[in-house]
Amino acid sequence: MIGNLPFVAAMVLVVLGLWTLMTRRNLIKLVVGIVLIENGVNLLLVSLGYVRGGVAPIYTYAPEGTPVDIPMVMPTPQALTLTSIVIGVATTALLLTLAVLIHRHRGTLDVRKIRELRG
């Protein structure tokens, strides 16, 4: 049960993010919602590679013994998560920049008032 906690937490984060996206009307809060979903997915991804009792997958830091016998945590999901975090940083920064630009032009962050592009 306790081993499934990361997956439950990931799902909770994704659902919270979707909830934020659907109920909030402020551009910055929409960005927060997207970041929540992103973090949920990242959490799922990184917890996939966990090996019970495993050590960090660093070759030179491994404890004594032949490297084959030591259970190491899978490095691939960590690399994937890192990549997706980096991508998340870039997209979040772009979103925030656009939000700032919209605020500059319109003086508001309320999506109900920003409706120049309709139909």
């Binding site: 929409l30 979903i37 691939t76 994937l80 870039a90 997209t91 656009l98 919209i102 319109r106 139909g119």
Partner: protein, 513 residues
């Protein structure tokens, strides 16, 4: 070791390197930047054409990054461990589309974009988007697919929004970016699920393993949802008209290519990754979404009074036709009757035809903007007196888009109508009806903008670079319309075949055996 083996990666790496070094060149001199853009663009197009010749002549090309040899895809234990690029006929075909639109957009941008108004930025992002699309189309690794998807997301939204001094582009870009990120995250979630189940990311290996269990179906749903968002199908289409309508002309046509890359991803996932596990229900879903897309967007196009948005709705409606035909192919993929294959060929052929004629229309809209400073149909009129080339190209594109013989849109739409009719006559009738409505919309737009009395506006003629960009696309529209059978036999049929029955060849090329 020969140069020819490295063609797949060179096609991706050249525009990537070009995109990053372009701003440095611009710091030296703007002429050097333009020259560099031309060199990079020409090299990329040459690489793509070489790749296409290799693939259509000699079968699937596999390239393993960072390995001892390009074809060493498998690790010591017979398990694919590195990122591979797999160029099959469909991937090469999509790369050709991106070469057509990317090349035309780059040439057009040389004459269209203005120094001091983000020309360096837009050209650099254009190359980056090009590299992202090529990567998306050629990669054989699921996570790499996601990474390239996000590269196209960031580059596309940057391209839409770079005119920050205007109020509408940032808004359109925000909308687009939210949809693209959500789509990307759905794809990432699907990748995570598949990785958790099978412990691999190689598409050929996964395709070998996927059996259609609960997790597989969840992942399929997420993939379809995410990629449909990227492709701009109804009901996730809200971003598309805004993005196309607000972007520059040269940006809009690469965005069309980007949308098609999303569609390609969808087809690749459904036919290659889930080839054995996809059920007719998914096909019906895609078919009905396609029909809905065609109808809704054509009806929306009727009420538009801004030229850019009107063409944008036309562009989204064409995605609907491709989805419709692809859905028909999916419904029938299990039984494999003749018309399913015809539907897939129609869908694939329509991609390149749509790329050419919608691209031509967007470039004409850009030329109209440049000539008059506005895109509002209520204040335009009589442009045909001064803008002869632009009006001719616009008419050509509009007729081709509506499917008037002997232009290229007719050839592929006929294939789509025929195959859809075999599945459901009602859907085929709807598709024809939508096409007629689209013709009416474009005739009205042409009449409003180009015909009528001469207006006293100072008009700025299109520059030679813009004319070259438009001319290339117009030549494609006419050539594919006159000789569709040559195109279908030599290029489209192998590409559709790669999806239809090419799954085993795809797996064998990567996994050996």
């Amino acid at each position: 070791m020969s140069f020819a083996m490295h063609v797949p990666i060179l096609a991706i790496a050249a525009p990537l390197l070009g995109a990053f070094s372009l701003p440095l060149m611009a710091k030296v001199h703007h002429r050097l930047r333009d020259l560099w853009a031309i060199i990079v663009g020409a090299f990329t197009v040459a690489m793509i054409v070489t790749l296409a010749v290799q693939v259509f002549g000699g079968g699937i090309q596999v390239y393993t990054l960072g390995a001892e040899a390009p074809d060493a895809t498998l690790g010591p234990e017979g398990f694919p461990i590195r990122i591979t690029l797999v160029a099959d006929a469909m991937g090469a075909f999509m790369a050709l589309i991106s070469a057509l639109l990317g090349g035309a957009a780059l040439v057009y941008a040389l004459g269209f974009a203005q120094d001091g108004k983000g020309k360096t930025l837009s050209m650099s992002l254009l190359l980056l988007l090009w590299a992202g699309m090529l990567g998306l189309k050629l990669t054989g690794d699921l996570f790499n697919f996601f990474v390239f998807l996000e590269i196209t997301t960031v580059a596309a939204c940057g391209l839409i929004a770079y005119r920050v001094w205007e109020s509408r582009p940032p808004e359109a870009a925000f909308k687009t970016l939210v949809m693209f990120i959500l789509g990307g995250l759905m794809v990432l979630l699907a990748v995570a699920l598949l990785y958790g189940e099978y412990g691999a990311l190689n598409m050929a290996y996964l395709s070998n393993q996927i059996g259609g269990g609960l997790i597989d179906r969840m992942a399929l749903g997420l993939l379809v949802g995410g990629l449909l968002m990227k492709a701009g199908a109804v009901p996730m289409h809200m971003w598309a008209p805004d993005a196309y309508g607000e972007a520059d002309a040269n940006t809009a046509i690469v965005l069309v290519a980007n949308t098609q890359a999303g569609l390609y991803g969808l087809l690749r996932m459904l036919f290659t990754l889930y080839g054995g596990a996809a059920t007719p229900e998914v096909g019906w879903l895609i078919t009905s979404l396609g029909a809905l897309t065609v109808l809704v967007t054509v009806l929306m196009a009727v009420v538009q009074h801004r030229l850019g948005r009107l063409v944008a709705y036309g562009a989204v409606s064409q995605i609907g036709y491709m989805l419709l035909a692809a859905g028909v192919a999916l419904v029938t993929v299990g039984a494999r009757p003749e018309f399913g294959q015809l539907a897939l060929q129609g869908s694939v052929f329509h991609m390149i035809n749509d790329a050419a004629c919608i691209g031509l229309l967007f470039l004409c809209v850009g030329a109209v903007h440049r000539a008059t400073g506005t895109g509002d149909l209520r204040s335009l009129g009589g442009l045909a007196h001064t803008e002869r080339w632009t009006s001719g190209f616009f008419l050509l594109g509009a007729l081709a888009l509506a499917g008037i013989p002997p232009l290229n849109g007719f050839a592929s739409k006929l294939m789509i109508y025929q195959s859809v009719f075999m599945l459901s006559p009602i859907l085929a009738a709807l598709a024809v009806l939508a096409s007629i409505l689209l013709l009416a919309v474009f005739v009205r737009a042409f009449q409003g903008a180009f015909l009528g009395p001469r207006q006293n506006v100072v008009s700025k003629p299109p520059s030679p670079a813009m004319l070259i960009g438009m001319g290339v696309l117009a030549a494609v529209v006419i050539a594919f319309g006159l000789f569709p059978d040559v195109m279908v036999r030599h290029v489209v049929a192998p590409a559709a075949e790669a999806l239809w029955t090419g799954r085993d060849a795809y797996m064998a090329a990567v996994l050996g055996g």
